[in-house]
């Protein structure tokens, strides 16, 4: 794994000018060479509306504004583009203000009951890495609580006015499948709190003991409250896993997520315990996703990931072309031909399974259709939606027929990601499941119904 491979991987890729700009600005600081390069890009033909649209898709609008407002570049940007970006930046700041205010109340409610909590992703990253709240948009508040205290945590939030956004049945399903206490909202307030009891979904093939993550925390002061965030190596592992997991579905926020990984690596390069990565370590089950995140963070955004960390996590038979395909199809492209064809829990990946799962996507169960198409309860003509699904699938089939190469690429990416999810130590025992988490209580209260 050398820097040469990195450069070749990116330089030979066909990429729009707007994507090149986004990759250039997806970092807190640029050096002189990067600044000159960015200047050249901005002087070239740029579709400014597309650039802003792509920046929003990748959650990099704040970062784009941060760089473009610098004296070296501001004169190159149309005034209306700059004004629009400034508005988006201000919106990020306003959301941060609101979210941290809510976070303070949530942490206070948990602290009153002495429930330990770990702040995940956005809120922690803004405080510890980005520092400027306009740079990284916050979408929700993710908080990890111990499984044994989850019921109390849920009640504590209900006590201050939070309600689940889904009905009791779906909430129970989310608890079981996603290991999170559904999403909680407060009436009339645009904030969503997600209480997690684990860091990976139940149907994930990863058998990860969440206790490792509880040991890998450090204390910080956020929103006027003492709380915990993950230590650098666990933060990196968690961010890499999230980045990887989301690439099964879409490229939404992908460069922003990669930027998070790269910036944590930059800020914590000397303090992170990189030796924890690798199949034999406590983060062993996450090795594939960790490699994927670290490889792209280093090769795309120039993050200072040590060679040893990449060597320790590199999957057998890895070829840079696989990462390049992932970058093309699942990070930059917004048009997937086929997404998440195979269930993550499936042990084997092959054409037959892909076809079977594809068929299930065309003909899902009624409950899925009702949710997907936002039907009111009791809607009788749900079967007509199968015709709609068939018509949509026909469109996908035509795309596949016109561009079979793209379908082959999608299949290839899926298969590679699938294999990364299943890395095991050679000849070693399978990692044990964190099964103390499997006894999740189904009953969470008696007034959970209805949308808020």
């Amino acid at each position: 794994m050398t820097a040469t491979v990195v450069t070749e991987t990116l330089s030979s890729m066909r990429m729009s000018a707007e994507h090149r700009v986004l990759i250039a600005i997806a970092r807190l600081k640029v050096n002189t060479a990067q600044e000159e390069s960015l200047g050249r890009m901005l002087r070239g033909p740029i579709a400014w509306d597309t650039l802003v649209d792509e920046a929003r898709w990748h959650k990099l609008e704040g970062m784009l504004f941060h760089h473009l407002r610098q004296p070296a570049f501001s004169s190159l940007v149309p005034p209306q583009t700059m004004a629009g970006l400034k508005g988006l930046y201000s919106r990020n700041v306003a959301r941060y203000l609101f979210f941290t205010q809510e976070l303070g109340q949530v942490l206070s409610a948990l602290a009153e009951r002495r429930i330990p909590s770990v702040i995940l992703k956005g809120a922690g990253l803004v405080e510890t890495i980005y520092r400027d709240p306009g740079l990284r948009p916050m979408a929700d508040l993710d908080i990890l609580v111990p499984h044994s205290r989850s019921q109390e945590a849920y009640e504590a939030l209900r006590h201050i006015g939070y309600q689940p956004v889904v009905g009791a049945a779906e909430q129970a399903q989310m608890q079981d499948r996603d290991r999170q206490l559904a999403a909680l909202v407060r009436a009339g307030k645009p904030v969503v709190v997600e209480l997690h009891t684990h860091l990976v979904e139940r149907d994930s093939p990863m058998r990860l003991d969440v206790a490792h993550f509880w040991r890998g925390t450090t204390e910080v002061q956020i929103a006027g409250h003492r709380s915990q965030v993950l230590t650098p190596e666990y933060e990196i592992a968690f961010l890499c896993n999230n980045f990887f997991k989301d690439r099964r579905y879409y490229s939404y926020s992908s460069l922003g997520q990669l930027c998070d990984i790269a910036e944590v690596c930059r800020a914590q390069a000397s303090t992170a315990d990189w030796s924890r990565f690798g199949l034999e370590g406590p983060l062993g089950p996450m090795t594939g996703p960790i490699f994927c995140g670290l490889y792209l963070a280093r090769h795309v955004l120039g993050a200072p990931v040590p060679d040893e960390a990449l060597a320790a996590t590199e999957p057998p038979g890895f070829r840079p072309a696989q990462a390049r395909l992932l970058l093309e199809r699942r990070v930059l492209s917004r048009n997937f031909t086929a997404r998440q064809l195979v269930k993550p829990s499936a042990e084997k990946y092959g054409l037959a399974r892909a076809l079977r799962e594809g068929f299930r996507r065309i003909c899902p169960d009624k409950a899925y259709l009702a949710k997907r198409y936002n039907l009111r309860p009791g809607f009788r003509w749900v079967y007509i939606l199968y015709l709609r699904r068939a018509a949509e699938s026909l469109g996908v089939a035509v795309k596949l027929a016109v561009r079979p190469g793209r379908a082959r690429d999608e299949f290839s990416v899926d298969r590679w990601m699938h294999s990364l999810n299943r890395l095991r130590p050679v000849g070693g025992p399978k990692a044990e499941a964190a099964d103390h988490d499997l006894k999740f209580p189904r009953h969470v209260g008696d007034t959970l119904g209805g949308q808020t």
Binding site: G87, R91, V93, A94, Y96, L97, F98, D132, G134, P190
Partner: protein
């Protein structure tokens, strides 16, 4: 509010940031968020500096001296601009403005 022309007129106003307003200073500018309405506002560097001084409960004379030191503007123009600024903040529910006896 009628346009303010003198420091004395300004000093008759007691301006207090509303309790349901949050603010964040970034790079010399300020973003205000009204928790009551959910609206947010951006203040330019002059407005931002004025807002910060208001939150510090500085007397008007000190506010004017500070702004005159940082921005190249005649005092009469500054007084008039601050009057307009306070008026806008008041209309948006971001501050409470009370007229006090001289």
């Amino acid at each position: 509010m009628k346009q303010l022309n003198t420091v004395r007129e300004l000093e008759r106003l007691a301006v207090t940031p509303a309790s349901d307003v949050l603010f964040q200073e970034v790079d010399g500018e300020v973003v205000l968020l009204s928790l009551r309405t959910g609206e947010y506002f951006g203040l330019n560097p002059v407005g931002a500096r004025t807002w910060v001084l208001l939150t510090q409960k500085q007397p008007w004379r000190a506010v004017l001296d500070d702004l005159l030191q940082h921005f190249d503007v005649p005092e009469e123009r500054l007084v008039a601009d601050i009057g307009g600024f306070v008026d806008e903040l008041g209309k948006s529910g971001l501050v409470k403005v009370i007229s006090v006896a001289a």
